[in-house]
């Protein structure tokens, strides 16, 4: 006899999300039972319509108070196509520094304030009944480090340090953008902010505070810091090994043998006891055995450059074809479609971002929102498809496609060799940390390139913004983001569309009836795949899994009114 569990509100995410699944007597999620449901609709893109294009930067920023900078950046890039203007190098540089620092802040926030507190869940850590009750050293570390701000056993030490550090790092986008969230200084053609020497000094000192956190909390301990540069050396070494997982475990064991479990930094602690300890038959939470998706990984690539190559390259990985892990396919935006079969919009209104026309259902007064059928409408999220298939986006996709150290692809390939899915709750968190790390040296490099005497802004020819259109793409922390804008003969927005990361990940079943990434990932939970049995009353593996995607629901549930004669981007490639 299975039980139905409904997690609602699914907290410690951005926005309003419900996840539903059935769990059988053995603790397996019943195949086909998960449903991912966005429960908020605001009609945001229509609010942009009919107005001055540059307003869109500031309205679209408010899609989301967590991804604000990503939306403002992507909107600005779309408008730069619309006005046919190129920002100067210093303008791009400042946008990179703001986005890079914000991404570091954001990844830290996601890992520590939103994801890690679940490790202090009483299901694991209750001293009498918890799964980890026999391992009191580990149990205490998890509670003492990671408990959330209002946890009866919290807040944890690492939690407090992370919250303090993220606030410090938030000063960088704050100073560049006037305020954060919601930047005021981005403009098509560059930025209206010009740094002062005092600002450069602030960026540098904030960078050092972030590095201190990485070295003394995330990687090492205050009395035994691990230099961030050492991590890069190790990552490259592991990436070149035929047994990267065993090598990582050996490194962690070495530290633990010397300094005890309390001498492990948060990341080594998580790597070992989240999964890698399975290699030596030790206690671990088997996070590599669930949270599995099996269609595509998609990344648009990222970071504004003044030469042709982005720092992180775009690509598509087909998880049914592991060769694409080594050589990802190029991204073709004409392959993107949104479907509304299971979404609260009028049927037949999906399509490519430049041509779809979406109308919300506004008569749902008698709708039963608490039953779930695969052929009915059940969410405010649309179902994006790439070449007709669901795609997972985010740090894991981005890092599998391009990790400058090679570590994440190496881990993915090794898991595949071992007969396991490379895409799971464990690798999602490893990739998130790695994504934070690869930004650390890059942000400092960008700061050292600041030149106040340079040009920060090229004013567009505003007339060029009439009867025009633009497409902007970016890779914010949560994954692939696309904005599309077009204008009428007066130069006002007549169509605005965003296809955002969380819409990809929280996608409902589409026309093909195939579950979206959240649904697939929850579907994989249970001893059937080698994970711990799930407990309906405290479904902590569902919590870990959904939060490992870093949901951002406010971004994901929105719509745009009908239009769409212009479609030159149908064939655009990036």
């Amino acid at each position: 006899m299975s039980k139905e569990v409904v997690v609602d509100p699914l907290t410690r995410i951005e926005g309003h999300l419900k996840v539903r699944a059935e769990i059988d007597e053995d603790g397996n999620v019943v195949d086909g039972s998960p449903y991912s449901v966005g429960t908020l609709f605001r009609n945001f893109e229509n609010i942009i319509k009919g107005h001055e294009p540059t307003d869109a930067i500031h309205i679209s920023s408010r899609f989301c108070g967590v991804c604000y900078l990503a939306h403002a950046t992507t909107s600005t890039r779309a408008l730069e196509e619309l006005y046919d203007v190129e920002p100067p190098k210093q303008g791009r540089l400042m946008r990179n520094i703001a986005n890079g620092a914000q991404a570091i802040e954001d990844h830290a926030e996601i890992i520590y304030a939103l994801w890690l507190p679940d490790l202090a869940n009483p299901l694991y850590t209750d001293p009498d009944d918890g799964i980890l009750a026999p391992f009191s050293g580990l149990r205490k570390e998890l509670v003492n480090r990671f408990a959330a701000i209002n946890d009866p056993n919290g807040p944890g030490e690492s939690y407090l340090k992370a919250v303090q550090t993220r606030k410090e790092v938030a000063k960088v986008p704050g100073i560049i953008n006037g305020m954060s969230p919601h930047p005021r200084t981005f403009q098509p053609g560059g930025i209206s902010y010009v740094p002062k020497e005092a600002d450069v000094s602030k960026f540098a000192s904030v960078w050092q505070r972030a590095v201190d956190f990485v070295e003394k909390v995330a990687l090492g301990r205050p009395n035994n810091p691990i230099p961030y540069t050492a991590w890069f050396d190790l990552a490259e070494e592991w990436a070149g090994s035929s047994t990267p997982l065993a090598d990582i475990l050996e490194w962690i064991n070495g530290i633990e043998d010397q300094n005890g479990i309390s001498g492990l930094g948060d990341v080594p602690l998580l790597l070992k006891y989240g999964a890698l300890n399975a290699l030596q038959g030790g206690p671990n939470l088997r996070m590599h055995r669930y949270g599995i998706t099996n269609d595509l990984l998609l990344s648009y690539g990222c970071w504004e450059e003044w030469n042709d190559e982005p720092y992180l390259s775009p690509g598509v990985v087909d998880l049914q074809d592991p060769a694409t892990i080594t050589e990802p396919d190029p991204v073709d935006t004409s392959q993107i479609r949104e479907d509304v079969k299971n979404s609260f919009y009028e049927d037949g209104t999906g399509g490519h971002p430049s041509s779809e026309s979406t109308k919300p259902l506004t008569d749902l007064t008698d709708e039963d929102f608490e039953t779930y059928q695969a052929d009915k409408k059940y969410t405010w999220s649309k179902a994006p498809r790439y070449n007709g298939r669901p795609a997972e986006v985010g740090p894991l996709a981005r890092m599998v496609i391009d990790d400058p150290t090679g570590l994440v692809p190496a881990i993915a390939l090794r898991l595949h060799e071992l007969g396991l899915s490379p895409v799971n709750t464990f690798t999602r968190e490893v990739a998130r940390f790695q994504n934070l790390m690869v930004l650390v040296p890059k942000v400092l490099e960008w700061v050292t390139m600041i030149d106040q005497s340079g040009n920060f802004y090229n004013e567009p020819d505003w007339e060029a913004g009439k009867n025009s259109e633009g497409l902007g793409m970016w890779e914010p922390p949560r994954g692939a983001l696309l904005h599309y804008a077009s204008t009428d003969s007066d130069g006002n927005i007549d169509k605005y569309q965003a296809v955002v990361p969380t819409t990809w990940n929280m996608s409902p079943r589409g026309a093909d009836g195939k579950m979206g990434p959240y649904e697939q990932a929850v579907n994989s939970i249970g001893p059937k795949n080698g994970s711990l049995p799930e407990t309906a009353e405290n479904p902590v593996q569902i919590f870990h899994t959904i939060r490992s995607f870093d949901p951002c629901i406010a971004c994901a549930c929105h719509t745009i009114g009908p239009n769409g004669e212009k479609n030159k981007f149908e064939t655009r490639r990036c």
């Binding site: 605001r42 967590v66 209002n150 009866p152 100073i175 006037g178 969230p181 919300p360 608490e370």
Partner: protein
């Protein structure tokens, strides 16, 4: 050679009453700034109302972007950690917060799980319990379609809001959305979803209803201690606006309900933070005085011509600043978009349009811009004069 206009500008503007907005008397305002946190002295004529230790905070998320929650994490005095761990025994218990709280809503076979980690149980226990709590609401209230544009825990959000507002000792709206609808309450949003603020809202014609009939809780709503909704606007709210209000509540420094009029303005914004026109204390104010105006983005000078709305916006951004007193919009070259004003965003669009070119500002709401009636003068009678000062005379001199 350019002439120094500082004297002339000052004089003419004074004639226009633009500067005749007296600085608020901070003592009379009886307001606890965050720096007074350690001083647990009650001011006169205020009855102790809330427990000073571990008063519960219930933070509800309506139609929002979570930007105000994230902004809260940037608080400096007190920091979010200090607010929770306490200063001299005074602290706040973040009992319910969907973005940072440890609880999650769990139902099994339709029944809410009877455990403390269940957010649904936690919420019900607090709002139907005997203890005082401060209710903070982020996000607009969308009440069309029986409230089904936002459902939480199997119910429309508005049912949670009804229950929480009924029993709250003090109800605070943070951010433009909860105060008066914000962006979700703009045309195309409000018309579809009904998005509005707690006590202020939007008329069907899209204009702010200054008689405050448009808010979801209604004009007559009073929290348990007898207060109307205290509005702490902004998009997002500054943490240095929300924290002092919470601290003031904990220290019982908010005047009694019959005297609240000296503490908040007609839009229920605390005068301490929203009592002055931003333009007055802007760090680019000197450039304005000299007639030095930025002509394009990244230029030096006053941002007026680039659409800065500071001359018609009440907020203390230039004095308080953001991110540890490091910056604010105009300091970083970003023109103000009026995000603390009722009527944001519609009344301020296009954001890059100088204020004298905005018919919606001029025809918007005479009472709005002026406790003092001053800026409306500037925007109405003064539009010509300001235009002359700002644009005409400088060019003539050149």
């Amino acid at each position: 050679m350019s002439r120094d206009f500082s004297d002339l500008s000052e004089k003419e503007l004074k004639d226009l009453n633009l500067l005749d907005i007296n600085r608020r008397d901070f003592l009379k305002a009886s307001f606890a700034t965050a720096s007074a946190l350690g001083v647990s002295t009650l001011i006169d004529n205020v009855e102790p109302a809330l427990a000073q230790s571990s008063t519960k905070l219930v933070w509800l998320s309506g139609a929002e972007c979570a930007g105000c929650s994230i902004s809260l994490l940037n608080a400096e005095e007190p920091s979010i950690v200090e607010a929770v761990t306490g200063v001299d025994g005074v602290s706040v218990d973040v009992a319910y917060h969907e973005v940072i709280g440890y609880q999650t809503g769990v139902k099994v076979d339709g029944e809410s799980v009877d455990e403390d980690y269940n957010a649904l149980k936690q919420f019900e226990d607090i709002v139907h319990g005997d203890e005082d709590y401060i209710l903070v609401v982020e996000g607009a209230v969308q009440d069309k379609m029986d409230g089904n544009f936002l459902r939480i825990g199997g119910k429309p959000f508005i049912e949670h809001l009804d229950a929480a507002a009924d029993n709250a000792s003090l109800t605070v709206a943070v951010g433009a959305c909860a105060c008066w609808g914000g962006i979700p309450g703009a045309p195309n949003g409000h018309d579809v979803t009904g998005a509005k603020g707690l006590q202020f809202g939007v008329e069907e014609n899209g204009e702010l209803n200054k008689k405050k009939l448009g808010g979801y809780l209604g004009a007559d709503y009073e929290s348990g201690l007898g207060y109307p909704v205290v509005n702490v606007p902004g998009c997002p709210v500054s943490p240095e606006w929300i924290m002092p209000v919470v601290v003031a509540a904990l220290l019982n420094r908010i005047p009694t309900p019959d005297a609240i009029g000296g503490w908040v303005d007609e839009y229920h914004r605390p005068l301490d933070m929203f009592g002055e026109i931003e333009h007055q204390s802007c760090t680019r104010r000197g450039e304005y005085g000299r007639g030095n105006f930025a002509e394009t983005y990244s230029d030096d000078g006053c941002l007026w011509k680039l659409g800065c709305k500071a001359p018609v916006t009440y907020a203390n951004c230039p004095e308080q600043q953001w991110h540890g007193h490091n910056t604010y919009c105009m300091e970083s070259g970003g023109p103000c978009i009026g995000c603390t004003q009722p009527g944001f965003p519609e009344a301020f669009r296009p954001f890059n349009e100088p204020i004298e070119g905005l018919p919606s500002i001029l025809g918007f709401d005479v009472g709005d811009f002026a406790k003092a009636g001053a800026v409306i003068t500037a925007a109405g009678i003064g539009a010509h004069a300001i235009k002359r000062i700002a644009f005409g005379e400088k060019e003539e001199e050149e």
